[in-house]
């Protein structure tokens, strides 16, 4: 428990110990890792100085063949084993992907239960595993850069996700980090991360909009920045709309113009690579040459003007503007009330995007920051804060929201909203259900996410079976189901029967995402491949946790030991000693068990300390008012 880390700098037992934490922007096209060094956030480049890691992994019979630029270079020659833009498949089934992208992708998909997988030379890979391989590459880069040959341990990472990611996509991202051996301090919404980086660097105050058009996702967030508080007022977007779609549209046009049909996967990939390059050239030039040298013996091409490109992609741009206006309405604001518009994501380099956003808000968007790096920098700042490295006065609070409503299936296939979109997280809501048959002992509950009225049009998140309801006459049972969304935007559900107090067991069957068994299997697979020792890693993890727990308990006792009576104090002291003893051994199960005991024993202490800190804070406010 109770590691209420309210310690002031200098009061910590190890005041000069800087805990290494990183921010990771796990992007559709490119990924980055950043950290805070001597007070300033910076992106950690690879050994040749390149800041980006293309989000591409190539597999061969031995596993990962290449990651990043090296993998990207192989995507035209080996498209089936070279997985790019895998973020678009996170938490998605085959049907979703077919509906969104058609049959155009070069991969050999397998419709695994829950989430689509891809057949590669290294076996069947889930998008979670591919993402884990990207994260592992970033982790290795960070550890190399921060600790060098001496080795060292990362405390954890803040990993960014599109604000518009639903529960399944968020869960999949967290699973990928777990698989890569990364302790996730927080999942952070990408536009919010950008707002932190921008806001802190510019001491910004007021209403800001963050327009984030990445490789595969679009987010718009409206935030209120004041006195160190970043409050998200509303968010909106499209988790399947990004720069990739502009490429695809241009490639499809070029194929039509040149009357090319039945392209092979290699040729398809060639067209997309050229389309992206042409798109980038059109950001500076009014016209460019679209090369169609699909076969080595023949060179051909098309002339494409910026005007043509803009006309082709107008619909995509309009979608982002519709979502932007909706987010403003949700925040109850007009465009004129927005003080600044921050552009994020490589796709915002397109001149038509800047112009359209500028027109909507009636002001020139802010572009004095690198749209590729700002998300990773913000994530690094938040990671540094969460790792406990904040300095006095250099402190802020983040209040984010849930992007899509959570609901339940009711009679007739209708979705009833339980938690509306744009609710500040963490948030919870309880709902009561009753039985409709005499003696009924089980009940099925279907949780969905989305804004549409029909369940069929929303995303199915999970189906729950409530079992063990005591037999009663129809309508007598009162089953209270609590939906809790945590600060990562992730949902958990618990249920209890109110008249008897019996806790109904909840069987969670995620419709998308992975079951714990799948994660365990993947972990085992990856250990076997890497020759790693799962036991040693589990022990190390428990030891780190035990040390954190002991430190936090000690700090809490030093500060607020007076809140405990002698008996309570003795119990906590005894368990602390017991944990120290267990931690000197090598049985990770034993360490975990004592951590659990100490957690339970300090729960009440944690609650009392929380009460005290709230009372003190409000009392302090009153004194301020009096002195004014």
């Amino acid at each position: 428990m109770a590691l209420l880390q309210i310690s002031e700098p200098g009061q910590s037992t190890a005041p000069h110990q800087h805990r290494m934490a990183v921010g990771i922007d796990l992007g559709t096209t490119n990924s980055l890792v950043a950290t805070v060094k001597s007070g300033a956030a910076e992106v950690l480049p690879d050994i040749t100085g390149r800041p980006l890691l293309p989000s591409v992994i190539r597999y061969d019979a031995n596993g990962v063949n290449a990651a990043g630029y090296a993998a990207q270079a192989q995507q035209v020659s080996d498209p089936r084993n070279t997985i790019a833009s895998v973020k678009r498949f996170m938490g998605r089934g085959l049907d979703d992907i077919r509906t969104t992208y058609g049959e155009k992708l070069p991969y050999d998909f397998v419709d695994a239960p829950g989430m689509v997988s891809i057949k590669t030379a290294a076996g069947v890979k889930s998008p979670v595993e591919v993402s884990a391989d990207i994260l592992s590459a970033l982790r290795a880069r960070a550890e190399q850069s921060m600790f060098g040959k001496d080795g060292g341990e990362l405390v954890g990472a803040v990993i960014t996700v599109p604000a518009y990611f639903d529960d399944a996509q968020r869960q999949a991202t967290k699973d990928a980090a777990k698989l890569a051996g990364i302790n996730v301090l927080r999942l952070l919404n990408e536009p919010t991360a950008a707002a932190i980086a921008y806001g802190l660097d510019n001491a910004a105050e007021g209403i800001y909009a963050v327009y984030d058009l990445g490789g595969g996702t679009f987010d718009i967030s409206i935030l209120k920045l004041s006195k160190g508080v970043f409050e998200v007022l509303s968010t909106g977007g499209d988790s399947a709309l990004g720069g990739d779609d502009f490429d695809r549209t241009l490639a499809a046009w070029a194929a039509r113009e040149a009357r090319l049909a039945d392209l092979t996967p290699v040729q398809e990939r060639c067209m997309l690579v050229e389309a992206r390059a042409a798109k980038e050239r059109l950001s500076d030039a009014d016209a460019t040459f679209f090369s169609l040298s699909l076969d080595h013996d023949r060179a051909a091409g098309l002339h494409v003007t910026r005007k043509t490109f803009e006309a082709l992609t107008e619909k995509l741009l309009k979608k982002t503007l519709v979502a932007t206006r909706k987010a403003l309405r949700d925040a109850g604001l007009g465009p004129e009330e927005v003080k600044g518009v921050v552009l994020v994501g490589g796709a915002t380099r397109m001149p038509q995007v800047r112009e359209a956003v500028g027109t909507l808000f009636g002001q020139k968007p802010l572009t004095n920051l690198n749209p590729d790096e700002v998300v990773a920098l913000g994530a690094a700042m938040q990671a540094n804060l969460l790792a406990g490295n904040r300095a006095l006065g250099d402190d802020w609070l983040l209040l984010d929201v849930i992007p899509l409503s959570l609901g339940l299936e009711t009679m007739g296939g209708l979705a009833e909203k339980v938690i509306p979109r744009n609710s500040t997280i963490p948030t919870a809501r309880a709902q009561e259900f009753t039985t409709f048959k005499d003696g009924q002992t089980a009940m099925a509950i279907h949780v969905v996410q989305g804004e549409r009225e029909l369940v069929a049009d929303c995303r199915s998140l999970a189906r729950f079976e409530l079992r063990g309801i005591p037999p009663m006459v129809a309508g007598a049972a009162r089953i209270r189901v609590t939906f809790q969304v945590d600060a990562d935007g992730l949902l958990s559900v618990s249920a209890r029967e109110a008249t008897t107090g019996i806790e109904a067991s909840v069987a969670v069957k995620p419709s998308y995402g992975l079951a714990d068994d799948d994660i365990a299997r993947m972990l085992k697979d990856s250990f076997e491949r890497a020759g790693d020792d799962a036991q040693a890693r589990a022990l190390k993890e428990q030891q780190v946790e035990a040390e954190q727990m002991l430190l936090a308990t000690q700090v809490a006792l030093e500060q607020d030991g007076a809140l405990l009576n002698a008996e309570e104090r003795a119990a906590i002291d005894a368990l602390s000693e017991k944990l120290k003893l267990a931690n000197a051994g090598s049985d990770h199960h034993a360490i975990k068990a004592v951590i659990g005991e100490l957690n339970r024993a300090t729960e009440e202490f944690a609650a009392r300390r929380m009460d005290q800190s709230i009372r003190r804070a409000l009392a302090g406010r009153k004194l301020d008012e009096v002195s004014l």
């Binding site: 109770a2 301090l185 963490p426 600060a487 936090a552 100490l598 929380m610 406010r621």
Partner: protein
């Protein structure tokens, strides 16, 4: 213990119980509380500490949203006084209000069918003006302890909020 989950929302933020709430004070108190309890402040804590933080932060969000929104605040005040809004089992409404209600709905439907965004915008402004007057009256009713008429006023405002949502949805559909 002085602070606990049995406190009402006003007590949590140390504000006087009543319909009139000083928004600046509410905002400041909410931020003070979140600064203490938000899970980001307890990232290094163990499971129990993180759980306590999540519960408190959830509680603070719920209290803040309830007090910030005038309709939710009025409903909550009436609940504290033992008055049930009873939207489900008590649907008797003043006939004059029901008439006006139907007129609003028809106007929204007509403007939506005609794809007339300007007309919808005007309806929205008129509706907000009407709501403002009603909230003023509701506040007076609550202050004077006239609970039964206050319940009636709350239920009428619930209808109007729904109409406002419908106008918003229509404007959104026109925008897409």
């Amino acid at each position: 213990m002085a602070t606990n989950f049995s406190q009402n929302h006003f007590e949590l933020f140390d504000l006087p119980r009543g319909f009139a709430v000083d928004m600046a004070k509410l905002d400041a108190a909410y931020r003070e509380v979140q600064t203490q309890v938000h899970p980001d402040r307890h990232a290094a804590a163990g499971d129990a500490g993180r759980r306590v933080a999540m519960q408190w932060s959830t509680r603070a969000n719920e209290a803040y949203q309830t007090l910030k929104n005038p309709l939710a605040r009025a409903t909550y005040l009436l609940q504290l006084r033992g008055q049930d809004i009873g939207a489900e089992n008590n649907t008797a409404m003043e006939p004059a209000f029901l008439m006006q209600q139907m007129e609003w709905r028809e106007a929204v439907e007509d403007a939506t069918a005609a794809k007339n965004a300007d007309a919808l915008d005007k309806l929205l402004r008129d509706l907000r003006e009407d709501k403002k007057l009603r909230y003023g009256k509701l506040g007076a009713l609550l202050d004077s302890g006239a609970d039964a008429p206050a319940v009636e006023a709350v239920r009428q405002l619930m209808f109007l909020e729904k109409v406002e949502d419908e106008i918003g949805a229509s404007l959104e559909a026109l925008d897409a």
